[in-house]
Amino acid sequence: MESSVLEWLGVEIIGVMSPVSICMFLVVLLVYSLSSPSTTATTIATAANLVYAENPSDTAAQKLEGAVLNAVVFIVFIALATFLLVLLYYYNCTAFLLHYTRFSTFFVLAAMGGSILLSLLERFSVPLDAVTSFLLLFNFAVVGVLSVFAGGGLPILLRQCYTVCLGIIVAAWFTKLPEWTTWTVLVALALYDLVAVLAPGGPLKLLVELESSRNEELPALVYEARPTVNTRNHAAAVGFIVAGVSDSETSRIELQVVSRVNSNNNNNLSSNNDNGENGINDEWERSPLVGGMRFGEVVVDEGMSPLVEMSGVGENEEEGEGVRRKIGERGIKFGLGDFVFYSVLVGRAAMYDLMTVYACYLAIISGLGCTLILLSMCRKALPALPISIALGVLFYFLTRLLMEPFIVGTATNLMMF
């Protein structure tokens, strides 16, 4: 048993660590290249900071109180959106969920990705013309939606790349939250994920059970580390307990993206009266009406994302070496929210120092390893956020408050390095 676990981990860890590492690395690159101290960062109002807009001049007590309130409101939104998702799925509104997920994917790639693209063009003064950039963005968004939801018609590698891209874009937007709010929201999300997945009656647990009882796949954004032939041949088997959980989480993440885009559009609308494009104006006029509901949905998405899933294949149970083959044949599935929140944590650390980035990265990867080990032992859906987020936050503050003064002091006095 021990050797088989190690053998399985050796194969699976690479498949799981690689996309997470790539996602975090690219978010750190984005944060470093686009954040300039001279630019006064406009605080974008999102579902995560509805209650309290953080100001540098506030006292620590005010910041803490406001951040906690923000986190509580955010979690309530997520929980409401998750239960809404459960209800929709329960009453067989799968088509609606599928179309909504596709729309939110397109919106993330086109609107939020476009915003990041424009910032990069402006930062590096790339003389790209309007026609070319719109054409590239349109192709990128449409191919993204097709690759994530078109089933078997596109390469697996492309689907994986686009899933990572979605995570990067959403995480980059999340790094715009104020500092205290970011930390409280991350901790609150980890706790929420723990409750939603493991508690009886938790919304994610309900979704998993519903999906497994129906053998119908819930439309959602999921990163599948290593698809297998058997998984594809037995579509019914995909409706495992784990799959349902990750599905719901992924769709929630997308919702979050949508709400943020809406808030961004609102800001643009208020700051740009000269905009003459009727189409954009129409979208902006609509967004306030739908804003409330979407905020809730977005929150739900974010909260739901953290789940590491294993989808098993029944056939392999007949094998002589049933345990090893069974483990080896299973593909691990990640909800997209895991990518997002790991990257938000590292992105926030990147705004302080590279030392905290290294510490957080190692902590998150260690937490992921612990979750994988637990997964191989428990063999059921597990939340992926709690261990990694707890270790990441702990290591960040330890590095920032204890390790950095020590190293800087010794380096200054030539006692080290």
């Binding site: 939020m112 790339v126 990128f140 596109l154």
Partner: protein, 136 residues
Amino acid sequence: MEASQGNHPNPNPNPNRNNSVASSVPVWPTIDGPLGLSEEESVGYARRFYKFGFALLPLLWAVNCFYFWPALRHSHSFPRIRPYVVGSAIGFAVFATLLSSWALTFAIGGERLFGPVWDQLVMYNLADRLGLTGWS
């Protein structure tokens, strides 16, 4: 195809070496090998993506070539898929040439070639006017 599919227990198959028939003829039409589409499904998808590419989506042509690379690479295999993949390759090559020519002309020529219109067309100035840079 399904009969030979059962002969590949390897979870990470290499599509170019899954041949149980000959050493140079690919068995699977897609780069995903047995995880991808069968030949029957591939024809429909290849045709669909080839046609979608004409709707200002040349990236789909590139994806078509990438996905059905075995059919493109081996000239005598999969005769029903190959016309669409070759068409996609030609279409993407033409489009990439045209677009990169225009983009490079715009970037290198600059204001000398296009006059004051260049300042209005360049994306970062346009983004400033439209107020689309709320993220940074």
